[in-house]
Symmetry: C2
Subunit: 186 residues, 2 copies
């Protein structure tokens, strides 16, 4: 194992820095290579291509969020779990707006896997409601949609009005909790 200098993980870390500082559009191999003090083609020794690097970054972020969300939910159940999960999610996105935008739209394998972890966490949080597996899946999807939609719109600055976003988010949380409490179809 010659020169230890770089590694796939190190490249991803530098890519993440780039995203944090300059946004996902600035994530180019040139930029990462510059940050690593290395010629661009050298990166190909660690990463198949730009698409893979994007996926790796995306997966890292998704796993990160899943970790934080999982920690937030620990030891809570039902309404409290949902509240904590949604708060953790929003906190992360506000803390790292560029990261959120770097999450891959098109689900590459690694990102998809991280997404599955996330799903598990949500399902675990919902277990305390005692709903059927199938109901829990539908509920988890709704929770995810709500949380994701809000995050996208907020980090993109798509909510124009001056009204407090905290309050809007509170309403969203209450809405989801109400839905979880009474998920029975008509």
């Amino acid at each position: 194992m010659p020169r230890a200098a770089l590694s796939a993980d190190a490249v991803v870390a530098l890519a993440l820095e780039t995203v944090d500082q300059a946004g996902p559009a600035a994530l180019t191999l040139s930029a990462v290579a510059g940050r690593a003090g290395v010629a661009t083609p050298s990166l190909y020794k660690h990463v198949r291509n730009l698409a893979e690097l994007r996926d790796l970054v995306s997966a890292r972020i998704m796993n990160d969020m899943a970790d934080e969300a999982g920690r937030a939910v620990l030891g809570r159940s039902a309404d409290e779990a949902i509240r904590a999960f949604m708060k953790a999610w929003r906190d992360y996105t506000l803390r790292n707006p560029h990261r959120y935008a770097a999450l891959l739209q098109t689900p590459e394998p690694r990102t998809a896997e991280a997404g599955a972890r996330l799903l598990d966490i949500i399902r675990a949080a919902l277990r305390s409601y005692g709903m059927t597996d199938s109901a829990a899946i539908h509920m988890a999807r709704c929770l995810r949609a709500a949380v994701h939609g809000f995050a996208v719109l907020e980090t993109d600055g798509a909510f124009g009005l001056p009204e407090s976003l905290d309050e809007s988010h509170d309403l969203l949380v209450r809405m989801v909790i109400a839905g979880a409490g009474a998920p029975r179809p008509t």
Copy 2:
């Protein structure tokens, strides 16, 4: 006015075709020029640059969706209006998955304007609940977040499980309606 051939609108239309057929990543000036039977630099006579073209396309799509959603809501109120709105939204996204992905994240002026129209439609639909303006704004945001989040996740194929997505969407609709009916804070 020499040769009428192209025009900004025509360019946007061709761009939209490109997006529909090959996805937003395929929206390049080369591609559009090829489709128009014209050299790439010629497009600059109609559009400032690629960024502007993206914004124009995005705004066109957003306006389209707002039109459809507005039509769907016409003559309905309260729960029925919300249900119709959400159904119209999802139908559009399923009919035009690539278009939805082409909506701009970063809100450029024209897209933002179209987004404002959309907001108005939602607010009109909520008026029948007789909530205060401020409550309506928060509610509209939640509705938008729910609808947007679901659309993104569904068109990206981020929902892996085999469970019926129609059913999940139903649950989402019910959740939002419940939230609109009882939006009073703690």
